[in-house]
Amino acid sequence: MSDLQITSVTKDFGETSVLKGVTLDVKDGEFISLVGPSGCGKSTLLRIIAGLETPTSGNISIGGKDVTQLRAADRNLSMVFQSYALYPHLTVAENIAVPLQMRQMTALQRLPVLGTVMPGARIQKQDIAEAVRNAAEMLEIGTLLDRKPGQLSGGQRQRVALGRALVRDPAAFLLDEPLSNLDAKLRVQTRAEIAELHRRLKATFIYVTHDQVEAMTMSDRIAVMMGGEILQCAAPDVIYEDPDDIRVAEFIGSPKINILPVERNGTELTVFDQVLSSHFYGDSPKVMQLGLRPEALRLTQSAPLLTGRVVHFENLGSEVFAQVALDSDGSRVTLRAMPAQRQSLGLGAQVGLTFDLSAAMIFDAEGARLRRVELAATRAPEVA
């Protein structure tokens, strides 16, 4: 167990640059998720950490030791692959035993027949069998030890792959979308089990996923990657409530955040000609973007900031999502409401919406967060 540093790592495949200088510090025992849309370079980054891919430039160090030039087998990391990559000809027990055999036994001891008569081989084998049993018990696959991977279900294979990773004591666990081949129900269950495993082992986990729910529910910190860069790396609640970039805000959160255009005319901030704040003295660009989470929007009858018609409606039982097409430009915003408000949200119903400026996030035209503008805008009424 040790911390892991990634320092300005880049990776080019021919002309295309997949990673554009990624820097990330992972603390000992931390569960960190690399999340982003497909093609953002998250899997490449994981494979560079593992040593299966060499970076074009930059460094990887584990426990303060530079391992950039070290091959994967010598880095003492464990990896769980998306396809599980179990050896099809070996039983579950043999699969889990492979990393121990490869590392603890000599080439002579591993020989099929001759190996058994080599000095020390018997004790080694007993130790390995013991370790395999422990790992299998931890994952509750003790009854499957004699089966071949071909006879297992997806969830069981996934556990075997986990077992193979945790049977030895690696510096960190690398998981490459391990849940993406499971069905929805099993995914939720395994998600909880992996998080619990992390708490029990207190080991460093680096978890690659494109599923924001997995990232939000399991991680200590989330690194949101896009276009070969880490846009933001922070705790899940910070990523959700206080994103640095409009792309982070748009990627995390379901349904997606609503983006509205904001303009500044003198001291007035306006959305579709509705005045948000008339005493804005801050320094800001003329055109900005306003980010509003669905739960920040409220239904209102008196003096609505936005008006529109309900065009789509989703009832999830505990909450209700309605898509409202705005009268001003026809763009759609998503609103989260309580089930009690269902009646006023029938398809085609005319609704008025309002929100608190303090719950909104303001970004510039390029998408960078403007925290000072937010501060000035929310404080302005008090000053006046």
């Binding site: 040593g51 464990s78 692959f81 998306q82 099809p88 071949k148």
Partner: protein, 322 residues
């Protein structure tokens, strides 16, 4: 009531079943007839003839019991036949499978250049063996052949320290096709040269089905050397391919004929040292019109091939299937 109902149903039921069975037999009849006519009947006829002294053109034949088989196991000609055949099989199969696997692994590890090697190694497979045999015959000619001329160039150099060259330079290099100690080995060499490209292509096909992520998993698990990765991933994944390649190679090795017919049309090499089974069948059954003994060798041949196929089935079902 229930009992009556049951019996009525019992009588009525077999009718559609019968009709379905009859339709089924009707549908497989053409395939069954063809199979019997062109596969089973000839084998049975050969089996029957192997117990007779029949010759083509004779009005009748006599039953001779197991006399033909007895000859196979007592006469020295047939002893030579078995020795030549098994020498060929035991030499050619492992070497051509091993070389095929080695070449496939090397070609697979190359990029585009691999295609060139693939073509080159596959050329002998595509060429007509009969024509190639004639080319080899010229090359192996004791005096004007390329092989011995090349070897002679080594005379007078340090090569003469080797006993083979010392002997060759003093008393002349081997006659190759005319020497009973060399003849069968030359045939083996040509068999390997001709056959391993085919095995390589089969192994290459097998290699493409190996999951790439398994190699990464092996690397993460600590398999450092190429040999360890081969043992952990490649070799087990090639199991089914290997069984198939070995069986095909064995059957092809038992069937060797054209080289021997091209080199020694009059009788299976010097002192019958390359008198393989296929050639024996041809010589006895066709050239000498001794259908009885020819059929007996054929039945033995069939037995070997059947045995190999059974081993293959057994291996495929038991050991390499997952």
């Amino acid at each position: 009531m229930a009992v009556v109902d049951h019996s009525v149903a019992g009588i009525a039921k077999p009718k559609p079943d019968n009709r379905q069975a009859r339709a089924g037999w009707g549908l497989v009849a053409p395939a069954l007839t063809l199979m019997a006519l062109i596969l089973l009947v000839p084998i049975i006829v050969a089996a029957v003839l192997s117990f007779t002294n029949y010759s083509l053109g004779n009005p009748g034949f006599d039953w001779v019991g197991v006399q033909n088989y007895e000859r196979l196991f007592t006469r020295s000609t047939y002893e030579k036949m078995f020795i030549a055949t098994f020498t060929y099989v035991v030499t050619v199969v492992p070497i051509s499978v091993g070389l095929g696997l080695g070449a496939a692994l090397l070609v697979h590890s190359l990029g585009r250049i691999g295609d060139i090697y693939k073509t080159i190694y596959f050329l002998p497979v595509m060429a007509t063996l009969l024509a190639m045999a004639i080319a080899w015959e010229f090359m192996l000619h004791p005096t004007i052949g390329m092989v011995n001329r090349t070897l002679e160039m080594a005379c007078g150099t340090w090569f003469e320290a080797l006993p083979f060259f010392a002997n060759g330079c003093a008393e002349g290099f081997p006659l190759w096709l005319g020497d009973r100690d060399y003849a069968i080995w030359v045939v083996c060499f040509i068999g390997i040269w001709q056959g391993f490209g085919f095995n390589m292509v089969l192994f290459l096909a097998g290699l493409t089905s190996v999951h790439r992520e398994l190699y990464h998993a092996a690397e993460m698990d600590g398999a450092r050397s190429g040999w360890e990765r081969f043992r952990l991933v490649t070799w087990p994944a090639l199991g089914p391919t290997t069984v198939f390649v070995v069986t095909i190679s064995c059957i092809r090795a038992f069937q060797v004929f054209d080289t021997i017919e091209a080199f020694w049309p009059q009788g299976g090499g010097p002192n019958k040292s390359a008198y393989v089974m296929m050639f024996a069948i041809f010589e006895k059954g066709i050239q000498q019109n001794l259908i009885g003994i020819g059929s007996a060798i054929t039945m033995l041949f069939l037995l070997f091939v059947m045995f190999l196929t059974l081993i293959q089935r057994w291996l495929v079902e038991r050991k390499v299937h997952y």
